[in-house]
Symmetry: C2
Subunit: 139 residues, 2 copies
């Protein structure tokens, strides 16, 4: 399958790893523990565009990403209290699913994180700890 | 399994039908074609709380709900252009998944619909057409 990551993801996220179906990225926003899963197949926009087998695989990888998001929060001393999962694509149509760790003290709580401006870059150390925690949890 | 719908869903949505896993409701907001799926089991908060079999069933029902949301949009003369799927639960913790039909002319586009105030009640005829379209698509 020919897969090319949409360029919009590059400045807004950091590569984490590849799972059997999805390329996994860490959202470049230090305010949240936030992974983005992009199924590695061409021309996907909606979940319905996946065949039933890959759909079940996506569900499996979403749940694994939830554990990884919790691991990122723990590594940063900011335990995740709630998971939020979203598949929107209103701006970047390439099929992708957000798995976000939420806390009652995060700036968007209890609203959604999507579409809220003000992303904050990671400090280098926090970025490395986040990536390491995500890779270990997904490995 | 003992299932009791969280009371918060009652004033904000209309019962549509039951699928094998989920109770399906129409969000009481005439601005959108919007279904809410609530897995009918007790004590669920996150997708990870479902066993792998029900997780796959939830994915299947989400995709069916997407088709139903498109059917609602068609019945109202407002074809759906994009699907948005969200599992948040920051306010109402009982596990539920939103499947929302979006259009570039809807009031929240391209942002998410969640957390945006201003829900508009359905006119009786539009409500009946929406429920009929959803039930036919999910039947």
């Amino acid at each position: 399958m020919a897969f090319e990551l949409a360029p919009a993801f590059v400045p807004t996220s950091h590569a984490v790893c590849d799972l059997p179906l999805c390329h996994v990225r860490l959202q470049a926003d230090a305010r949240y523990s936030w992974l983005v899963l992009i199924p590695r197949a061409e021309g996907l926009v909606e979940i319905e565009d996946l065949a039933p087998g890959p759909r079940a695989q996506l569900m499996d990888e979403l749940v694994r990403a939830g554990a990884a998001v919790r691991a990122i929060g723990a590594a940063l001393g900011r335990p995740v209290e709630k998971l939020n999962v979203g598949q929107l694509g209103n701006v970047t149509p390439q099929l992708h699913v957000h798995v976000v760790g939420r806390r009652a003290d995060d700036p968007a709580w209890p609203g959604p994180v999507w579409g809220v401006p003000g992303a904050e870059a990671f400090a280098p150390d926090a970025l490395q700890r986040s990536l390491a925690a995500a890779r270990k949890a997904l490995g």
